[in-house]
């Protein structure tokens, strides 16, 4: 990788790694497509079938997404490590398993085996419950994400509002994680997280009003369907083009809610020593760590649904695959941002949230109202 001054010319490795990468991507896309086929089959059975009974669908959906999102979150750490490594002129995990594919497995095995320390001075019940309370809501929100036109684990009227409502419970768990272990750095991190979450919740919801108003519905499927069709025959009618302003507000706000660079002050290593996870070890730490990644997937999914036409796309691959590809695109974009940006200071974050994003979101809502009043009817 050009690490020595002499081998500046030898950056090219030959075609084999790229062939293997492409093959891997093909396999991954195939697997995603297979899941999509199962989903569309279930969706096509009609409301009377056993599989579409709300209870059955809820339980199966929960179990399935627990597995997929759990493993996805775990492998997202690997993806992030590999991706960041490539940005940073190094290789990333590549020793355990082919291309380091077993690295998350090893991490999980180790962390399961790790001793679980509850300090003497800790509020032990709060400390034990905190990861669950923090983790559960961000998991619950996958119930309302429309993966295909016919498959939503729980199709409800309030769709995206449910997602936002459930997300807003996460700070409780994080504040518990800050309070329980009786550690100043935990507390500082949790306070920063809660303040940040409160500040960016409002612009986030205000930015969501745009797509909701266009679709005249809170339902995810309806919002996606409202983006069907093309302008001039080739530009998809995604909300991101007419509502670019709102999309940016939403993107920044959900990046801040996820707590990643440049907004990663809740777990800034050099300032508050990993923040609210500082005192956690073992599986509890895993849950708090996965929180970030599940949040990331959920935020990206919401962005795709609201602004990037959800599962819509040209027909050659199925809807689920389109959704996943768009999701991966947004996630990789956020990882790239993480790799090259600096961290913002706490007062700068608050200023951005309250003084710039909030007025901007309000103005955006006004514009969309005027626009809709002029165009609709």
């Amino acid at each position: 990788m050009g690490l020595y001054a002499e081998d500046q010319e030898q950056l090219y490795h030959g075609p084999i790694p790229y062939i293997i990468l492409l093959a891997g991507a093909a396999v991954a896309v195939g697997a995603i497509a297979a899941v999509g086929i199962v989903f569309s089959y279930i969706g096509s059975l009609g409301p009377a079938s056993f599989w579409n009974n709300p209870w059955v669908r809820g339980i199966i959906g929960a179990a399935l997404w627990a597995a997929v999102v759990g493993a996805g979150g775990l492998y997202l750490t690997l993806l992030e490590r590999k991706f960041m490594a490539r940005v940073q002129v190094r290789y990333g995990p590549n020793r355990w398993g082919p291309y380091g594919l077993l690295q998350p497995v090893a991490d999980a095995l180790k962390l399961m085996r790790k001793e679980d320390i509850i300090p003497d001075a800790a509020d032990s019940l709060v400390m034990r419950l905190a990861p669950i309370v923090a983790f559960a809501p961000s998991f619950m929100l996958f119930a309302a994400v429309p993966w295909t036109a016919t498959y939503v684990a729980s199709e409800m009227d309030i769709g995206v509002l449910y997602i936002v409502a459930v997300t807003s419970l996460t700070p409780i768990g994080v504040l518990m994680a800050g309070w329980g272990p009786n550690n100043k750095y935990n507390l500082l991190g949790a306070m920063r997280f809660a303040a940040q979450e409160l500040a960016y919740e409002v612009p986030l919801i205000l930015a969501m009003i745009g797509p909701i108003a266009v679709a005249q519905s809170l339902n995810g499927v309806a919002i996606v369907e409202a983006q069907a069709g093309y302008w001039f025959g080739f530009i998809p009618k995604w909300n991101i083009f007419p509502q670019f302003f709102g999309a940016i507000i939403f993107f920044v706000a959900f990046m801040a809610e996820t707590g990643r660079i440049p907004f990663d002050i809740p777990d800034a290593e050099s300032e508050v020593v990993h923040g609210f996870t500082a005192e956690y070890s073992g599986m509890k730490f895993v849950m708090l760590l996965l929180l970030e990644y599940v949040h990331l997937i959920a935020g990206a999914a919401l962005f795709v649904v609201l602004y990037m036409g959800g599962y819509l796309g040209p027909s050659p691959i199925n809807q689920f695959a389109w959704f996943t590809l768009k999701l991966l695109f947004v996630i990789l974009l956020m990882m790239l941002i993480r790799a090259v940006w600096f961290r913002v200071r706490i007062d700068q974050i608050m200023n951005l949230g309250w003084k710039i994003l909030l007025p901007a979101a309000l103005i955006n809502v006004g514009f969309i109202g005027v626009f809709l009043a002029l165009t609709v009817q």
Partner: protein, 168 residues
């Protein structure tokens, strides 16, 4: 019939949880625990709303009370010094509290029994978000605006109170 039974079971579970949470808000020795039980209470009340198919209200309940209010309370608690536990409760205290609660419930018995509760199921269209929005901006537009003005004045007052004077 089956679904009604399932709804009833869910209702009783949620009701028990919310009563337990409500009592624990009072009884918890640690103020932080009390705030957490408050969060449980608000969330379980959202469950009651869902059983009444008022999903929009449930979501708003969680968003505003569970998400914002409780988080603000918790935030205020963690900003203060760690006060520790209240200490041992005396028997007299306990008896007095029990008496007060029983008295309050007794007061409620009369109105509960006398009120003519509607006994039939109300048909819902499945578009109650739309209905809420419609009635909010037609029938109740004046109260809505008045409330928003009141909230705005409270907001400005809070900013004024907490703002530090220059040079301080």
């Amino acid at each position: 019939m089956k679904e009604v039974a399932a709804d009833l079971i869910m209702f009783f579970i949620i009701a028990l949880v919310s009563i337990f949470a409500a009592v624990m808000v009072m009884e918890a020795e640690d103020i932080f625990h009390a705030a957490l039980f408050l969060a449980l209470l608000f969330t379980s009340i959202a469950g009651v709303y869902i059983l009444l198919t008022a999903e929009f209200i449930a979501a708003i309940q969680i968003l505003v009370y569970g998400g914002a209010v409780v988080v603000l309370i918790l935030f205020a608690i963690v900003l203060t010094n760690r006060a520790g536990k209240v200490g041992e409760q005396s028997l007299k205290n306990l008896l007095m509290r029990t008496a007060a609660i029983i008295g309050f419930v007794a007061l409620l018995v009369q109105p509960i029994l006398k009120t003519p509760w509607p006994n039939e199921m109300i048909e819902t269209t499945g578009l109650n978000t739309y209905a809420v929005g419609y009635s909010l901006f037609t029938d109740y537009v004046i109260p809505f605006e008045v409330v928003s003005l009141a909230l705005l004045s409270a907001l400005i007052g809070a900013v004024y109170l907490s703002k530090r004077e220059v040079g301080q």
